[in-house]
């Protein structure tokens, strides 16, 4: 398995399947872990970082956590490869900018990614399409158990798993769901939903994490509590109580739009398709906006000749690094705009 293979398809989180996939694009669980007896990363010398990276990589690769796995040495990776991994949600923005010894382990299905030497020594994530948090939790526990056979993690009888930032201490668990909320955006109720999320002590942010705009009406909602509750309870609360509320808000907003302004609503969707199938220059921002409408059209049954998987693939593969990797050349934004429009026309079956 090589990095270039990734561009042939969309990652697991964009398969467009799983429970409540009309609203929940993907589910993610993440565990933060640190090697016992070593300083946290910000306090490591260059030598220690190197030592950690080699030690952790060796043990992860030997632990048999997944069949076919790929290790990417981030420090040695070029800008485009880093961007590619970021676009696929396999590494964080911070990791994509790192120049110290660090890397990422990726399973073939891309459901598993382990960042080595990020803010914590290990950041293990399991990513799935649809609302499948319990399943993801079970999987990540198995992985964590296997890693624990080989690696001693910093652990404290009171505080649990110790992390570089005290806001992750305890379970080290962050649970998130990526939600597609276009109808709430259209009805103007998205601000209420965001406020509700914050009132529930949740973090809500755009597609690529902290400080990013909610491109394509995609919002990432995460829990903030990591201590005082078991992992099972945290997942249960999030998956069975929190997220269903947002699914319900969005579904209701879709019904409102369908009932109250059917013509205007359909018009928006069909115009989006017309532009996607005809435009000659397309920015990634506009692409995300139009694909969001197309996705919505499919979900409410207004569009039947394009499937969700195609939409998701186009969504990912038209992002800057993917586009350049697929076309095997570096392009400036203008060239990308033209290449993107052509790519979309082909994929969506237009002239």
């Amino acid at each position: 398995m090589i990095l270039g293979d990734l561009t042939k398809h969309a990652g697991e989180w964009l398969r467009g399947e799983g429970p409540s996939h009309d609203v929940v694009v993907s589910s993610r669980v993440r565990l933060a872990r640190n090697q016992a007896g070593m300083p946290f990363l910000s306090r490591c010398t260059d030598g220690q970082k190197q030592e950690l990276e080699a030690h952790l990589r060796q043990h992860i690769l030997a632990s048999g956590i997944a069949g076919n796995i790929l290790y990417v040495d981030i420090a040695a990776a070029g800008e485009l490869d880093r961007q590619l991994l970021l676009e696929r949600h396999l590494i964080s923005r911070e990791h994509a900018q790192s120049h110290h010894p660090c890397g990422v382990v990726i399973s073939e299905s891309e459901t598993l990614a382990i960042m080595v030497n990020e803010e914590d020594h290990l950041r293990i994530q399991v990513l799935r399409s649809g609302l499948r948090l319990e399943e993801s939790m079970a999987e990540i526990f198995q992985i964590d158990d296997k890693l624990e056979e080989r690696i001693d993690f910093a652990y404290h009888s009171r505080y649990g798993y110790l992390t570089a930032c005290p806001t992750n201490v305890g379970t080290g668990l962050r649970i998130s769901a990526m939600l597609h909320l276009p109808a709430l955006k259209m009805t103007g109720d998205i601000d209420k939903a965001i406020r509700a999320a914050r009132d529930m002590q949740l973090e809500i942010r755009g597609l690529y994490g902290e400080g990013t705009e909610a491109a394509g009406d995609l919002f990432q909602i995460s829990n903030q509590t990591t201590l005082g509750k078991s992992e099972e309870q945290l997942v249960r609360d999030f998956s069975q109580r929190t997220i269903p509320k947002f699914i319900d808000y969005e579904r209701r907003a879709r019904q409102v739009l369908l009932k109250k302004q059917p013509a205007a609503f359909e018009d928006k969707i069909y115009r989006a398709i017309a532009i996607l199938r005809s435009a000659r220059v397309m920015s990634s921002q506009e692409t995300m906006y139009l694909l969001s409408l197309l996705r919505l059209g499919i979900m409410v049954g207004k569009v039947t000749d394009i499937d969700l998987k195609t939409v998701n693939e186009v969504f990912l593969l038209t992002q800057p690094a993917h586009l350049q990797k697929i076309l095997k050349r570096e392009m400036n934004p203008q060239e990308r705009g033209e290449a993107r429009a052509a790519f979309i026309r082909t994929r969506l079956g237009a002239g």
């Binding site: 910000s42 001693d152 910093a154 009171r158 806001t167 379970t171 005082g228 509750k229 078991s230 992992e231």
Partner: protein, 164 residues
């Protein structure tokens, strides 16, 4: 319980408790009336905001911080932690405990004890300890939600575990 706005009878969404000269005054307002009173509604603070606030915070703990506690394992001082918001090594949790604990509790909704997964290598005692904590938490939840059947079952489980 749902309150009506003290001023206009609309449903109140803002609840305020003010202490004036040692007297507690409760106010219930709707969003509009709250705004005219000059009260802006802030969403609940995020953890990073809390940390920010904590960094700027001047309180009794400051006495301790002023002496600038330093971890004897990694050499990180508490003021450095305040600046970078990241700890230097696992031992910092013990070295800075008195200063760190209030922050952890505030960030974690009052919790300061891990009840989740325990590494296999950690002693069985630790596992038992955490399992008991978890069961007791569940028991509390069951009682609150008046699920007495589950509560009785949990109580039995706790007793059984305590006797092993």
């Amino acid at each position: 319980m749902d309150f009506k706005c003290d001023k206009c009878e609309k449903p109140a969404t803002v609840y305020l408790t003010e202490i004036h000269n040692g007297k507690k005054i409760e106010k219930h307002l709707c969003e509009t009336c709250a705004a005219t009173e000059g009260i802006t509604i802030q969403p609940n603070v995020s953890i990073s905001q809390l940390l920010e606030e904590f960094v700027l915070h001047t309180g009794p703990e400051d006495e301790l911080a002023r002496k600038d506690l330093t971890c004897d394992v990694c050499g990180l001082s508490f003021s450095e932690f305040r600046q970078q918001k990241l700890l230097g090594c696992p031992h910092d949790y013990d070295a800075f405990e008195r200063l760190l604990l209030p922050l952890v509790e505030r960030a974690q909704g009052g919790a300061s004890q891990h009840v989740g997964k325990v590494p296999h290598k950690a002693g069985n005692e630790q596992k038992k300890h955490n399992a008991l904590l978890r069961l007791r938490g569940d028991l509390k939840g069951a009682i609150t939600s008046e699920d007495y059947e589950r509560a009785a079952m949990l109580r039995d489980q706790i007793k059984e575990l305590e006797n092993t």
